[in-house]
């Protein structure tokens, strides 16, 4: 790509992308007691990367975050989510029963808190990973026939 | 061991032998088994106690009676077993695992069904006869045989499922599966069973599968087929529907109408198939009369018929085997090269025509007397007419065109020894049963096996009246045949005269037969053509709709379905809104 092109875009993007990512984490970590959470944060995070890919090219984005990573991220998210559920089982509760996570005495809320945060983190991973995977699946795909042929 | 012999349905032994036979590659060993199995079966049958539930089973909460011998099915089972033995001997010359095994399994299924004490067992073996017998047609290997076998299978399975449907109903209604005679045809279960039996017994208009498939079967296959399926149906009919008036008329029609087809038919095995139909008609008619005498007649007739029809099919099979054809127009003069076969064929022909001293006579007399005795004059006349017809097409036409007639010039070897042996045994039975009683043999032996031996033993077939009537009928028919032949009035493809007992009716009968023959000769093919055309149309129509290129498969990729979705949704809502109570 010609480095002279889209200078403004590049410069703006370079400033914006960290902010977007940061905002994603803000949304994420406030999700357990205010509007927000993993879904929104995951999408915002993915948008940051996608913006990067749009401006700096898919190939450099692929170098930054390879598809195998995004796939793994999505899977890890689900594993984290389900893992919390199973953790609760070992704590003596039902599946996904956060109250049982930390084996607290009656009235303890830390299990609830931790559970929600972990779950939301799982959702973040899952959503961000999936969004990026989908994006790569279309943008990064090398078509077997060229555009002119059809 | 004795317990096993007394309680095991001999059909099982045959079925088992058949299935094992499928896998025995050594010809002689297998065929040894095939001959021994029916012998064992006969022995087992003689050991069985009558009218007892010899073997029961409890499956799925249903009580099944696997083996039950009574006076009625005893004689059928015996005939089946003898036929199985004759078939096995008749098949010895060839080496065909599938055919040997399936023939034996088929025979076994028929025997097992004959001794079944409940509906479900009957049904299972009923279906088994269908499935195993189809191979005997398929094995002929021709394209025509393939299609015939598929049609045959479809019809037989249809009969089976109808039976099943009927059984389910009966079970629902009565809670029992015991084979008992129905009281009326009003209830649907009885009607379904009746239809199933009707298909298998080849009632008029349900009979086409028989003439379609039997002549296309293998040499051995046709012999085997001729013995079991229809007679099993006759037995079932006798057990379930004795004394149903409608059977008299069905039987009477059945005896008459094949005559016209048989006399104009060129393929001699097809002639035999028609005459099979005609003979079964006698039995059905007798069952319809339902008196002890009539049932005796049906049973005796079935026994005799199984043997002599097998004999006739065997002789035609031998001819086919040696010459490669069974067409009347291509045969003739074979008595020189196949004298034994010719003699056996004549014995069979004499038996089926009910010449005195042959088995057909003693059996048919019972039926005729029973019908006459109960006062069904019209039916009696129809039977009489059919008797003459039998002589015409089976008694004279078969041997005449095959072995005598104009010499076709074919010079072939005599049939293989095993065929001759089988035919010889069958002939011996035909004659022994037909003779007057002596030393426990003769017709007395047969009569003692009948459902009502005391009634049968009071009946004397060899009265002057019977013999005279019969001989008069036969001789005049023969005479007519000879005369017509001499004057060149009997073209090979035209019907012959059919003489009635009364001279006065002779010309009328002749005229009628001639007319009917001509009409059938023209109308028959025309009707076949129309039916074929309609079937073809229907098939094309169905194919146009359902085939992979058809309308149903063509619709837009998803469009059709989306419309269906909307339409069904609308309908479901409409239904809900219309029917809801407020």
């Amino acid at each position: 790509m010609n480095p002279d092109h889209h200078v403004i875009l590049r410069v703006v993007a370079k400033t914006l992308i960290p902010l977007i990512t940061l905002y994603a984490f803000y949304v994420q970590f406030h999700g357990d007691y205010s509007p927000g959470g993993g879904f929104q944060a995951g999408v915002i995070f993915a948008v940051g990367i996608i913006l990067y890919a749009l401006i700096f090219g898919v190939s450099s984005a692929l170098r930054l975050i390879p598809p195998s990573f995004t796939r793994g991220l999505a899977a890890a998210g689900v594993l984290l989510y389900a893992g919390v559920g199973i953790w609760a089982l070992f704590g003596g509760g039902n599946y996904l029963e956060y109250g049982a996570l930390l084996d607290e005495p009656e009235g303890g809320h830390h299990g609830q808190h931790i559970g929600i945060i972990l779950i939301e983190l799982g959702v973040l991973f899952g959503v961000a990973g999936s969004m990026l995977t989908i994006f790569y699946a279309f943008a990064g795909r090398v078509a077997e026939i060229s555009d002119e042929d059809w | 061991m004795t317990a096993l012999i007394e309680t095991l349905n001999p059909g099982f032994v045959l079925v088992l032998a058949g299935i094992v036979g499928l896998f025995i590659p050594m010809q002689r060993v297998r065929q040894g088994l095939m001959v021994i199995a029916p012998l064992v079966g006969i022995y087992m049958l003689t050991q069985a106690n009558q009218s007892m539930e010899l073997a029961t089973a409890h499956v799925l909460g249903l009580d099944l009676v696997l083996y039950r011998v009574d006076s009625l099915n005893f004689i059928f089972g015996l005939a089946f077993l003898i036929a199985a033995l004759l078939n096995a001997i008749y098949a010895l010359h060839g080496d065909d695992k599938l055919q040997d095994g399936m023939a034996m399994a088929y025979a076994g299924a028929a025997v097992a069904a004959a001794f079944a004490g409940d509906f479900l067992t009957l049904f299972v073996f009923w279906e088994l006869t269908a499935v195993s017998s189809v191979f005997l047609i398929l094995r002929a290997g021709t394209r025509a045989a393939y299609f015939a076998s598929m049609r045959y299978l479809a019809i037989q399975i249809l009969s089976g499922v109808l039976l099943l449907a009927g059984i389910t109903y009966v079970y629902q209604a009565s809670g029992a599966l015991t084979l008992q005679a129905f009281t009326s045809l009003d209830e649907p279960g009885a009607l379904l069973v009746f239809l199933a039996v009707g298909i298998k017994a080849a009632f008029p208009f349900l009979h086409n599968w028989l003439q379609d498939s039997y002549p296309k079967a293998t040499v051995v296959g046709a012999v085997v087929l001729s013995a079991f399926t229809t007679k099993l149906a006759v037995l079932t009919c006798a057990r379930l529907f004795p004394g149903f008036d409608i059977l008299i008329w069905i039987g009477a029609v059945m005896t008459v109408f094949p005559v016209f087809f048989a006399v104009i038919e060129n393929d001699l095995r097809k002639v035999l198939a028609y005459s099979l139909n005609n003979q079964v008609g006698f039995m059905i008619c007798a069952i319809g009369v339902g008196t002890p005498l009539a049932l005796n007649g049906a049973a005796a007739h079935a026994f005799a018929h199984i043997i002599y029809k097998a004999l006739l099919f065997m002789s035609m099979g031998a001819v086919l085997y040696r010459t490669g054809t069974a067409k009347a127009s291509e045969l003739g003069g074979l008595y020189k090269s196949m004298p034994f076969t010719a003699v056996f064929c004549l014995i069979g022909a004499a038996s089926i025509s009910a010449f005195p001293l042959f088995s057909g006579f003693v059996a048919k007399s019972l039926t005729m007397s029973a019908v006459a005795h109960e006062g069904y004059v019209v039916a009696w006349l129809m039977l009489l007419f059919a008797s003459a017809g039998v002589l015409e097409h089976s008694g004279i036409k078969i041997p005449y065109f095959a072995f005598f007639g104009h010499d076709s010039g074919k010079r072939v070897k005599e049939a293989p020894f095993n065929m001759l042996l089988a035919m010889g045994l069958a002939s011996a039975i035909c004659i022994l049963v037909g003779l007057p009683s002596f030393f426990g043999l003769g017709y007395g032996w047969l009569y003692n096996l009948l459902p009502y031996p005391e009634v049968a033993n009071h009946y004397e077939p060899f009265t002057l009246g019977h013999i005279l009537t019969q001989m008069q009928l036969l001789m005049l028919a023969v005479l007519a045949f000879i005369l017509l032949k001499r004057f060149g009035l009997y073209p090979p493809e035209k019907p012959g005269t059919i003489l009635d007992t009364d001279w006065a009716y002779r010309r009328l009968g002749f005229g009628f037969a001639n007319w009917a023959g001509t009409v059938w000769g023209k109308a028959g093919p025309a009707m076949t053509r129309v039916a074929g055309l309609l079937a073809q149309r229907g098939y094309d129509r169905i194919e146009a709709v359902f085939s992979p290129r058809g309308q149903l498969s063509r619709g837009p990729l998803t469009g059709g379905m989306a419309i269906w979705t909307a339409a069904l949704l609308g309908m479901a809502m409409l239904l809900s809104f219309l029917t809801v109570q407020h």
Binding site: R71 | V59, L60, L153, A165, G555, T558, M571, A572, Q581
Partner: protein
């Protein structure tokens, strides 16, 4: 016999948490498979996972069937069983008690379906390796197994959940992975792609219809819990909202269950999907959707409502009949064996729906019995089919000619399953058809029994054609080598074939399952 699993085999945690683990285990493992480098390893893992699910399904079945004595013994031993009352297991996800939280609720009906799905799933996993290895690219195999397990978990989830919306989510989880699995057949035949797309559009419409229906019910009652509907709906029978919901749900689920004429996604999807996928789907997917339909027809709604009776008589039964006739005809004319089998599947769905539409214990258990038997026979048929695709690469009737000689073991099992499909005595298919006939007689539906008979004759024709080609025709191009399917494929195939024979001889086990299931659902909805 099954109860011994509770007392001897299963650990306490498995008994307490069998319900969520049954679904969660395959779901977790599916995602973990992303990290598994080798297809063969993924295969082994998926066998273990589906096997574990089968184990959990057995535990659930045992719990549902357990009598009070066994349950008391379990309680004494300190084992938590989540029994709501005898015959119903209820598991509150996250500890949120229903109707607020999502409930996994298992009674005799879904215990049976779960057993069926997990059993077929396990068998399918075992047999899958040779065909997957041949049909799917090496680097995609672990993802393929991942998608398969997701689909498996989705189907199990549909069967296990007691929450109407959760059911939709699981339905879509299984459906979306199914679209992917079907599309993977494009490696062999590109027609898999339009087939998958078609399926996607139709499947989504069906699922959306279902959601709309649930929305109506939610509007009318304010709940999503199915057990709650049972309690609330009788008050609202005259309510048009409920009726509209009913119509949407029936059509939506009917589409997923391939109810004629909403079946048109099915033949192509089955014909062009990878062999293993076809096997699994044919034996489970429509069955599970049918289960959901039965669940709604009999426990959420009730045959006591006149509008439901009307749809039984005027909608479902006629459609079932039409399926039995039309699709049997279509099956007769197909030249591709897979399509023949696919059309016959639709026809068989007709049988099941017919049983259901009788709305009697007898009819529903006949339908359910046929559902189970059909899974066994179709599973076997498609497995044999997969073996043939693997060794001979042909699916048309001509390719099948003479295979009886070159692959006798495969084809004998195929023949057994085919006979079962026809309904020959001493096979499983006979038992269920017999029962269905009895049920129609009891209900006095003469015409229906006639159609069953007719459709059976058609089945004789279309399966007869195949069997005739297999056993009596000379091979088209003589294959010198005798080439069986691999042993790995033959074993599950024969398990299914023998299961068909076994049920043909002694149907008491599946019969009891079906009977209990039918008794568990009939009379629950609104007519106590």
């Amino acid at each position: 016999m099954i109860e011994s699993i509770l007392t001897h085999l299963a650990p306490a945690w498995a008994i307490a948490h069998a319900a969520p683990l049954l679904v969660v285990a395959p779901l977790v493992v599916a995602t973990a498979l992303v990290f598994v480098p080798s297809g063969r390893l993924a295969w082994l893992i998926s066998i273990l996972t589906t096997g574990a699910s089968l184990f959990f399904a057995l535990i659930l079945l045992a719990l549902v069937q357990a009598d009070t004595v066994t349950l008391a013994a379990l309680a004494d031993a300190g084992i938590q069983t989540n029994m709501l009352r005898e015959g119903v297991v209820s598991y509150a996800i996250g500890g949120w008690a229903p109707p607020v939280g999502i409930e996994f609720r298992i009674d005799a009906l879904n215990a049976m379906i779960l057993l069926l799905v997990t059993f077929i799933g396990t068998l399918a996993s075992v047999f899958s390796w040779p065909t997957v290895n041949a049909e799917i690219r090496t680097e995609k195999q672990n993802l393929f197994y991942g998608a398969y397990l997701v689909c498996f978990a989705g189907l199990a989830g549909v069967a296990i959940t007691g929450d109407a919306f959760n059911l939709f989510v699981f339905l879509e989880i299984s459906s979306i992975s199914t679209y992917v699995l079907v599309a993977l057949g494009a490696g062999r035949d590109r027609r898999a792609l339009p087939a998958a797309f078609n399926y996607l559009v139709m499947g989504t419409i069906g699922a959306t219809f279902y959601v709309i229906g649930v929305g109506f019910l939610f509007a009318a009652t304010g709940t999503l819990n199915m057990a709650d509907y049972t309690a609330l709906l009788p008050e609202l029978v005259g309510n048009r909202t409920v009726q509209a919901g009913f119509a949407f749900i029936i059509i939506g689920l009917g589409l997923k269950a391939a109810m004629w004429p909403l079946h048109q996604w099915l033949p192509n999807a089955y014909a062009y999907a990878p062999s293993f996928v076809t096997t699994f789907l044919a034996a489970t997917a429509t069955k599970v959707a049918l289960y959901a339909l039965i669940r709604f027809l009999f426990t959420v709604f009730s045959p006591a409502y006149t509008f439901e009776t009307a749809s039984f008589d005027w909608l479902i039964a006629p459609l079932a009949i039409a399926a039995m006739v039309a699709c049997s005809f279509q099956a007769v004319f197909q030249t591709d064996v897979r399509r023949t089998l696919a059309y016959s599947s639709v026809a068989q769905v007709g049988y099941m729906l017919l049983g259901v539409s009788l709305a009697s214990v007898f009819g529903v258990s006949a339908g359910l019995l046929h559902l189970m038997n059909h899974a066994l026979m179709k599973g076997g048929l498609f497995m044999a089919m997969a073996g043939i695709v693997l060794t001979y690469q042909g699916t048309t009737l001509r390719d099948f000619a003479g295979l009886g000689r070159s692959a006798p073991w495969t084809m004998t099992a195929f023949a057994i399953c085919a006979l079962s499909l026809i309904g020959v005595p001493l096979t499983a298919g006979f038992q269920s058809k017999l029962m269905l006939l009895q049920a129609t007689f009891t209900a006095g539906w003469w015409w229906a029994s006639g159609v069953i008979v007719f459709s059976s004759v058609l089945a004789v024709i279309y399966m007869g054609r195949i069997l005739e080609a297999v056993f009596f025709k000379a091979p088209e191009n003589p294959r010198k080598v005798r080439k069986e399917a691999p042993l790995l494929l033959l074993i599950p195939l024969w398990v299914l074939a023998l299961a068909n024979l076994w049920i043909g001889l002694d149907a008491s086990f599946p019969y009891d399952l079906a009977r209990n299931a039918a008794e568990a659902v009939i009379g629950v909805g609104g007519q106590q």
